[in-house]
């Protein structure tokens, strides 16, 4: 796979460019705007935005089932959803939220920001980048088509064996879950390879390890987690695929199989997965808080190393999801203790953020509020996490709403709050206008209210014994009151979740009405390199690759300490920022192949589910497209370069 991006498969060096301009789809896409451009773009910024749009869409799409769950559970013995429908709905809710919302949202920020923060022109492999996105989207769409093609998966998001077997889930929903996530996972994997290479190899001169912005660091750790975790999930899914589709026996107890194998494989992936969901948000917060506290991040090295530590420790705790699975007291002991200690590096992060707030001059705009929101809400979720780590206590807590409360506090109160913060923070960089602060504050406060009202009661419900994944309950169990509150909260939360879209719309219209004023390169007076270029980011990113001399280099271009050690502004952002004219800059050309390759995979996927015959055209298309890809030079040799009269520069690329 990896060789396809290789230029050597193109014309040899020095060979003059062909004069032919073939027709139709076989010529390279040239559009720089419009739908066709979005479909064929290899620009990391456009891809980042597409990731963002897709995951926001899926947030709503995954929120609808959540609301249905809450409606069903608002009162005892409701009949809104049948058992079957309920099972599909919570499974899809969890799956969509994890795989199609939080993960791609992390990828959105990573894609948009990584090259900018390290001073690069694009990621290492732009076409693979496009491929990663499209393959994620293809997988996501395919997963959701299950609704129309015979029913959604009903195994829960961790889909334990043998309940996921064909005997217990005879529909095709689980096959969709299986195959579609395998496809989406492939995108994450290629994305990880790409982004790691980018960070390792494409940093601007002087951008040493200890000068990387914290967000970049956290994303790097995240991508390593993906790189190593995805294949484990893939294997679990392959085993399931072979069991379900080809009568394998991996989870066939009658043949001596042990169903716990699935749990081990899934959670070896699953636990790193939860950290890779939170680390990008941690990175975002570590950028936002210093910017608006107007002081550097407290304890940069500790922030970095605790992130790395979380990444490593995340690999040693998976069986805390299996405390009651019967893995034996020795394993339980080991994993319980290991799990508890993950609170240490995480605590370092939390306390360092607090120390950054300490003595700062805080500008409490929406982005900052959401970041502080993360610090508080995540901590609550983390603390309940530690209480799960007390294995004996977890035998009471596991599979109750107490767990549901925990993971919504860390996922929504952590990851999503962080992402919202990031959206408000980087919106002007990406789109050239700020989001409305007033609506933003509404957004934040309704979110905090709705969030705590929804998930706070779940702590109590869980400890009062309400199991999760319950289609309904009885009055005699005493769950009525808090469930009602949670349902009310969830609608406030839905309103809050939606309001960022409303905000975007209102802000855009207002901005247009005001004659599209430019917010300037550095609207927040922030610290990292992406603020040293114009907003919205020019297509080529940097006119001139910056040379970095310190952490927060951009900040120290603007401000320097005078002889008294007092920080003084030496120049304005406007003067310092790169003007954004990309003379002579050579950009990778758009390509059709990534999207074609990406969408050939679901064809194979449908084939695996419905009829193997369908795999034949799928594989055919895949092979052909991969070949087309590798024969296509990464640069469009025929294309004129930006404002350069003589078309051919190809020969310089040996």
């Amino acid at each position: 796979m990896a060789i396809v991006e290789q230029e050597p498969l193109a014309l040899p060096a020095g060979e003059p460019s062909r004069s032919a301009r073939p027709l139709g789809v076989f010529s390279r896409p040239r559009n720089t705007t419009g739908l066709k451009n979005w479909l064929t773009s290899v620009d990391h910024k456009k891809i980042g935005i597409m990731y963002g749009v897709a995951s926001l869409f899926f947030l709503l799409w995954g929120g609808v089932p959540a609301l249905l769950i809450r409606l069903q559970l608002a009162r005892p013995n409701q009949g809104l959803l049948s058992g079957d429908a309920y099972n599909q709905i919570f499974t899809m809710h969890g799956t969509v939220m994890v795989f199609l919302v939080v993960m791609p949202m992390g990828a959105a920020f990573a894609n948009y920001l990584l090259p900018l923060q390290i001073g690069a022109r694009d990621v290492a492999f732009p076409r693979i980048n496009a491929f990663s996105f499209w393959v994620f989207l293809a997988g996501g769409i395919m997963l959701n088509t299950s609704w129309f093609l015979g029913g959604g998966p009903d195994g829960g998001w961790f889909n334990y064996a043998p309940n996921n077997g064909i005997a217990y889930s005879p529909g095709i929903g689980i096959d969709f879950w299986n195959v579609a996530l395998m496809i989406a996972g492939f995108g994450s994997l290629t994305g990880a390879v790409n982004l790691i290479t980018t960070v390792l190899n494409m940093r601007a001169p002087g951008m040493t390890w200890m000068r990387l912005p914290v967000f970049t660091w956290m994303t790097l750790v995240t991508q390593f987690l993906l790189l190593f975790a995805i294949p484990v999930l893939t294997v679990a899914q392959l085993l399931l695929l072979f069991d379900r589709r080809f009568d394998g026996n991996f989870f066939n107890v009658a043949q001596g199989a042990d169903p716990l194998l699935w749990q081990h494989l899934f959670w070896i992936f699953g636990h790193p997965e939860v950290y890779l969901m939170i680390l990008p948000a941690f990175g975002i917060v570590s950028e936002v808080i210093p910017a608006f506290a107007r002081k550097p991040i407290f304890g940069y090295p500790f922030m970095v190393f605790s992130g790395i530590a979380i990444g490593f420790m995340g690999w040693g705790v998976w069986a805390h999801h299996m405390f009651v699975s019967g893995i034996g007291p020795l394993s339980v002991t080991a994993f319980a203790v290991a799990t508890m200690f993950i609170a240490v590096p995480t605590g370092v992060k939390v306390l360092n953020w607090m120390a950054t707030l300490w003595g700062g001059k805080l500008i409490l705009n929406t982005a900052m509020l959401f970041s502080i929101g993360l610090v508080t809400q995540f901590t609550l979720g983390g603390l309940s996490g530690v209480s799960h780590a007390i294995a004996p206590a977890d035998t009471q807590q596991t599979d109750t709403y107490y767990i549901v409360a925990h993971f919504h506090y860390v996922l929504f109160g952590g990851a999503l709050f962080g992402f919202y913060s990031g959206l408000y923070f980087w919106w002007p960089k990406a789109f050239g206008y700020k989001l409305n602060e007033k609506i933003g504050k509404w957004n934040f406060w309704t979110m905090v209210l709705g969030f705590n009202l929804t998930f706070g009661p779940m702590h109590i419900l869980g400890l009062q014994g309400m199991p999760r994944r319950m289609q309904t309950y009885d009055t005699s169990q005493g769950f009525n009151t808090w469930n009602m509150w949670a349902t009310i909260g969830s609608f406030i939360l839905a309103f809050a979740t939606l309001s960022i879209l409303y905000n975007a719309l209102v802000s855009y219209l207002g901005w247009r009405r005001a004659g599209r004023p430019n917010p300037g390169p550095d609207p927040w007076d922030a610290r990292s390199l992406e603020w040293s270029i114009q907003s919205p980011t020019p297509e080529h990113n940097f006119d001139v690759t910056p040379t970095v001399t310190s952490l927060d280099d951009w900040w120290y271009h603007k401000y320097q300490e005078d002889e008294n050690g007092v920080l003084r502004r030496v120049a304005s952002s406007k003067e310092l920022a790169q003007p954004g004219n990309g003379e002579g800059v050579h950009l990778p050309a758009p390509s059709y192949w990534p999207i074609i390759v990406a969408f050939s995979l679901p064809i194979i996927g449908y084939g695996l589910i419905f009829s193997l015959w369908l795999c034949i055209p799928g594989v055919f298309l895949l092979l052909a497209a991969m070949y087309g890809w590798s024969l296509e030079p990464a640069d469009d040799l025929d294309q004129d370069h930006h404002s350069e009269p003589e078309p051919e520069l190809a020969q310089t690329h040996g």
């Binding site: 940093r203 390890w209 069986a319």
Partner: protein, 115 residues
């Protein structure tokens, strides 16, 4: 991972193949010979009718040596090691192997002992 050496690396450029000192053909042939001998030894060992640790341990050791030889010589990890910062290949691969071995050994232990 000293910050120092990385900082130096930051200013380097790609080393062309001419600058890399890949092994000579002779080294490759000798490596191959070693691999063949090890394989033969492995097979022979498996025919001794041993069992338990006596069977498994030597086989595993030989396996690891073969693994290391292929990775080191054929995949140039040994030579790439010498290049400034080239240990990133080894780091990436090494983390992977370390993670895989430890994680899967733990899984296996959990099943084996079930305690």
């Amino acid at each position: 991972m000293s910050t120092e050496s990385m900082a130096v690396g930051d200013h380097s450029t790609t080393h062309d193949d001419d600058h890399e000192h890949h092994p000579t053909a002779k080294t490759y042939w000798l490596t191959f010979l070693a691999l063949v001998i090890l394989t033969a030894l492995e097979v022979a060992w498996s025919y001794l009718g041993l069992s338990g640790v006596a069977l498994v341990l030597p086989l595993l050791i030989m396996m690891v040596i073969k693994f290391a030889i292929v990775a080191g010589v054929f995949m140039h990890l040994y030579t790439d090691l010498n290049i400034l910062n080239g240990h990133w290949f080894t780091v990436a691969f090494g983390i992977a192997i370390g993670l895989a071995v430890s994680v899967y050994v733990v899984v296996f232990a959990a099943f084996q002992f079930n305690i």
